[in-house]
Symmetry: C2
């Protein structure tokens, strides 16, 4: 496709999505669920052809000298395919969010007023590498009654096209419009510029990728963006705490996996717990090779732990999302200081307090201004599947519309429903 | 204030608002309610001084040759003051939305996951003329635990400053921060440009005014905007309908008041009801001097009504928000055509079906893509007070975040709360 053809092509994709969204909004639950189970079946039956399409992307990535972890993220192995197929089946088994009517109340005038859950309309999804996102986004769109326009990374184009064909087959088999899920077929970057600037066709943009990509899209978009920026998550060890439990939870929050956005990046310890807690967690981190960037008080304790990699924290460390075996550590005077520190340096993603003190737990829940606030649990739980959403289209670090893991409900809005018997306003 | 001082001034206002928002988020229900009842008391006690401040604005407006309806909107009469004072008391009597925890469910891992309602943070309110909006916005901010920055019209500056002083007195009396409600003290337009471009201090902008103002603010804002654009509302008369009831409701929807955004601007009539319904509604409209802009079918019927002002509708009429004694009228073949017409030409604000047919009522509710959808009720009911929200900060014609009348809940968001007993992710 020539660059000058892209505006017309994207307008055509947008118009088709808008038209399909009307049909999807009134699609029956059975048709949507049939699409999802059929898609699961088609995915399992296509492990061979999908692998062939994926091999082209892998070969091109290796030829281009892409780093090994990046190449790994591209792989559409039979295991990855089985996981997304199961995800489709799980979504099919979930209740249909569309049409739910809640909170209907009679008013003194005689009318009854409530709210009905309806799809947002059309969402645009911009993502990189992992081709499984194609199926995750498509399946969430189908179940939530939205249409979507998918723009995957150019490095995954063959895999994405092959997956998209299966989605279209499944839609047609269930009598739903093919244009409910469209994949942008050009890898030209100008297509992204158009996708985020068509408010007449697209209601919301969901980008998944690095912070730079998301900031650029947010700045340029002419429609709302569900943003996921940093994940600088904190675990705070209170004065009254079950030390044995705190060790297990903190270890899990930091080391169970280093790369996810919900991994703990900063450890705050009440001064009353520092002497008991820090040497033990320091030993665990030392054994796993986790570097500790410390304030003076924690450093004085941790420096004595055999094998510990201890450094002085700079101001920048408190705001850092390492996504690596590194953690910042600070001793705080009290809960007030912990909350103030988290609200100042955190990224409003996920923060946990480990405590046996009930008032402190409640204050932490109320006053920490983050999308997820936790008591006595690992920050790693901040995830749509763990929260029972079935799947997530992304995680929002915004407060507006959707906050935290975004599942089916985040792809809907509530309209007002008024039921009368001929009432008039006086 | 010099123009070059405005960025620093607005940054100072923004920083104070952000700091106050933290205190407001944890303010107790009693302190917030005390502020509101104290504010009501202060307003009633200040009818004299408020009138004097208002007289300055009125005199300036008249000297500037402002049109009489515009001058009327400026007036802060004892009756207007009593109405806003009652509004404060009604808000005080409502449940506190902040801290509500809903939907807590145990997950297979052992954690319990739910959502807690919390304030958005800081909102900026941009409005014109009516000084009572100052109190409405301030009282909604106080009850919802937000801080707000108010930017009223320059024509109401003396009234707004006098009202704001009472708000600050009430905040101080209840031990809440004065900066929870700030009024921009300069009337320089550059202040608006800054207010909408400080994402570090302001979480959302709520403009109230003409469509041009709102479109300009939306285009330039660096934060989300709760938008209220057109109100091109429809009333549709179905084939099976209680004609007597339909006449009363349609009359009310159009003529009870011509200027509100929820007044009906377009009347659609099923062809099976046209012969029975149109001559009677035509006679009512003729008696009230309502001009009818008609398609050929309705015109053929309405032209025979004595005294009726009937004209041919142009394509533009179907999309018009008249806010005047004018209505567009069209005969449709069936419910499908009615829904398609509304979704194409409407403004997604408020639309009603008048019918005795249950499946048609349900289809209309589901398929009309508007913030408020009604059965057998006047579109004039689309209002935060009528819906039981206590008060409204505005009406959203967007789908994202808040839709329709926006009250206390629209000024909050839901964060995730996870309650554990030491669970870790495996």
């Amino acid at each position: 496709m020539n660059a000058q053809d892209i505006p017309a092509y994207m307008a055509q994709v947008g118009a088709a999505a808008r038209a399909a969204s009307t049909e999807m909004a009134r699609a029956g639950t059975r048709a949507k669920n049939t699409t999802l189970t059929e898609l699961a079946r088609l995915l399992r039956a296509a492990v061979g052809p999908l692998g062939e399409a994926n091999a082209k992307d892998i070969a091109a990535a290796e030829a281009a000298g892409l780093a090994a972890p990046m190449v790994d993220r591209l792989r559409l192995t039979p295991k990855v395919i089985e996981t997304v197929a199961e995800g489709c089946e799980q979504l099919a088994a979930m209740p249909d969010p569309v049409g739910e009517i809640t909170g209907v109340k009679r008013r003194p005038t005689g009318i009854s007023v409530g709210q009905m859950r309806v799809p947002l309309g059309v969402f645009g999804m911009i993502y990189e590498s992992r081709p499984n996102v194609t199926i995750e986004a498509a399946s969430l769109a189908i179940k939530s009654g939205n249409a979507c326009i998918l723009r995957g990374g150019s490095e995954a184009i063959h895999s994405n096209l092959a997956l998209w064909q299966l989605v279209q087959q499944a839609l047609v088999a269930a009598g739903l419009p093919k244009a409910a899920v469209q994949l942008v077929e050009t890898t030209d970057r100008a297509a992204v510029g158009r996708l985020i600037a068509m408010p007449e066709f697209v209601d919301v943009i969901i980008p998944r990728g690095g912070k730079g990509l998301i900031e650029r899209i947010s700045a340029e978009a002419k429609v709302p963006v569900i943003k996921h920026l940093d994940g600088n998550c904190h675990t705070y060890i209170d004065a009254e705490v079950d030390i044995a439990q705190a060790l297990v939870v903190t270890d899990n929050a930091k080391t169970q996996k280093y790369s996810p956005c919900n991994a703990t990046e900063s450890l705050l310890v009440h001064q009353a717990s520092a002497a008991a807690f820090l040497p033990q967690i320091g030993a665990i981190f030392a054994a796993k090779g986790v570097e500790m960037r410390c304030d003076a008080a924690s450093r004085a304790i941790l420096a004595d732990v055999p094998g510990a990699r201890v450094a002085e924290a700079s101001e920048a460390d408190w705001a850092e999302e390492y996504l690596a075996p590194v953690i910042s550590v600070k001793v705080v005077a009290d809960l007030d200081e912990a909350i103030a520190h988290i609200n100042r340096y955190g990224s409003h993603h996920t923060d946990a307090i480990l405590t046996t003190n009930h008032p402190n737990a409640m204050r932490f829940l109320r006053e920490v201004d983050s999308a997820s606030v936790m008591v006595n649990a690992s920050t790693r739980f901040a995830d749509g599947f763990e929260y029972g959403l079935g799947a997530e289209i992304g995680i929002s670090t915004d407060k507006f519309h959707a906050r935290g893991p975004v599942g089916l409900e985040g792809l809907t809005s509530m309209k007002w429903v008024v039921l009368g018997q001929g009432e008039v306003r006086s």
